[in-house]
Amino acid sequence: MAAQLVNITTMPDILHFEFMRNALLAAILSSVACGIIGTYVVVRKIGFISGGIAHTAFGGIGLGYYLGVNPLLGIIPFSLAAALGIGLLTRKAKIAEDTAIGAFWAAGMAIGVILIGLTPGYAPNLFSYLFGNILTVPLSDLALILILDLMIAVMVWLFSKEFLAISFDEEYARISGLKTVRLDMLMLCLIALTVVIMVRVVGIVMVIALLTIPAAVARNFSRTLHGMMGLSILFSVAFSIAGLWLSWVFDVASGATIILVASIVFLATALVKARRISLSR
């Protein structure tokens, strides 16, 4: 209902603004990555690793400011290093996963704080990297998001049978001769790239919500992993556009509104599910 109303009345007006068109494009492009990768994050229950990767990326934002380059470019090495670091430490050095995540999470934030402190002057737009601002996405960032989107889609298409195997039954995948640790690292790197994409939309603090909620809601209606990916993308687009519109109407922060919309839908479906389970007992 609400979405129809938007289409008929409000959206065309909004679309006269170029920044609004960019915002819509950013919402759709980022939803592709977070629907595909979020599906793996949810079925493998690795949301906390994803949160760790995202927060470590704050170091990259600091690096971007310090070197005077696009903070999004600074995030890429940091999130990839976090993905590989957390992944390899837990698998090769047998360090407890939550410990490794906590260490990287805090170290990344610390590096970011120090580098921003060392940067002369004040850090403009810092808030938008922390909590997202979909209304200020420049075309150059859209291009970067598109490239990362394509990389993720191609990788997932190439390795779909391997990724399904390590997600469903890692032990069996290993017995079948797959190099599961390498595939695992590849998947964590794809999560890292998704984090880069999502930073513009919801910021590093809230990436974890958009990476998990659309997929978690989609799982209730999906019979296959690919179906779940498709549905996650649709949910993510719906949350982003609904959040964007509400933030426009009420003049509040866009990233936070998107997350709130997603959270409310998530809670509603969780309650429906809980009710169904208690009725069937």
Partner: protein, 256 residues
């Protein structure tokens, strides 16, 4: 005698500082249907995982088809315990069985019609042809168990390794699964581990008792009471080991 498929020689495995397997020697020959019995924590699953190459032995050796573990990928069909699976995972029975073809494919290579034919065959053998499209969350314990057996069969293996195939199924389904294994033994060497001592003796050709160390019960052999007392430190069911295929009664194990 035919070539041994699995040879364990004085195998010792330590996990987290405790000995799980202590000097286990065991040979499994082509055409064998061997059951490894023992209490929980007796090292049954560890023995399977060592044979699969998932666990490294502390000392001693294992060979599978004459090679170290992990080299005979594709010739081994492994059926893990079904209770450890995430039933919420959005995957159909068909796609689980298709995963059995993984060992026959190269990295990034896609499944083709030959793979799908194998899946259809495996589902047919396990009596699941009608359930292929069903999500695994909607299967009963016994159906999921048979899906996992079908997955192992889809790889066209020579050796089947099964971990507690009857642990999470009701008694009726147990019979179905043992009947299925009875049919499969004609084309496959089978090794299963179980703590289900009730009916297993009627189906298998050999029984091994494992509690860190291993006792082999060959046909016609008898074990001293003392040895049995030291193997099982608590009373267990009587295991009747009848060689149904020879028609004659084998030895009678009295596990006091």
């Amino acid at each position: 005698m035919s070539d041994p498929v699995i040879v364990c020689d004085r195998l010792c495995v330590e996990l987290g500082g405790t000995s799980v397997l202590l000097g286990v020697s065991l040979s499994v020959y082509e055409g064998d249907f061997i059951a490894v019995l023992g209490p929980n924590g007796g090292g049954k699953t560890t023995l399977l995982k060592t044979i699969l190459g998932l666990v490294k032995p502390t000392s001693g050796t294992v060979t599978v088809f004459g090679e170290p573990p992990g080299h005979a990928t594709g010739r081994i069909g492994y059926v893990p315990q079904s209770m450890f699976f995430d039933r919420e995972f959005p995957i159909s029975a068909w796609d689980v069985v298709l995963m059995g073809r993984l060992s026959r494919k190269k990295l990034m290579q896609r499944y083709n019609s030959a793979d799908r034919r194998k899946v259809a065959e495996a589902l047919e053998i396990t009596g699941l042809s009608d359930l292929g499209s069903r999500r695994i969350g909607a299967l009963s314990g016994g159906e999921l168990q048979r899906v996992l057996i079908a997955r192992a069969l889809a790889a066209d293996p020579d050796l089947l390794l099964l971990d507690e195939p009857t642990a999470s199924v009701d008694p009726e389904m147990k019979t179905t699964i043992y009947d299925l294994l009875d049919r499969l033994r004609e084309r496959h060497t089978i090794m299963l581990v179980t703590h289900d001592t009730g009916t297993i003796g009627r189906h298998v050709s050999r029984i091994a008792c494992l509690n860190c160390s291993l006792d082999m019960h060959e046909k016609g052999s008898t074990l001293g009471r003392k040895a049995l007392d030291s193997l099982y430190r608590y009373p267990v069911d009587i295991v009747e080991h009848i060689d149904s295929h020879g028609g004659s009664t084998g030895e009678h194990h009295d596990h006091a």
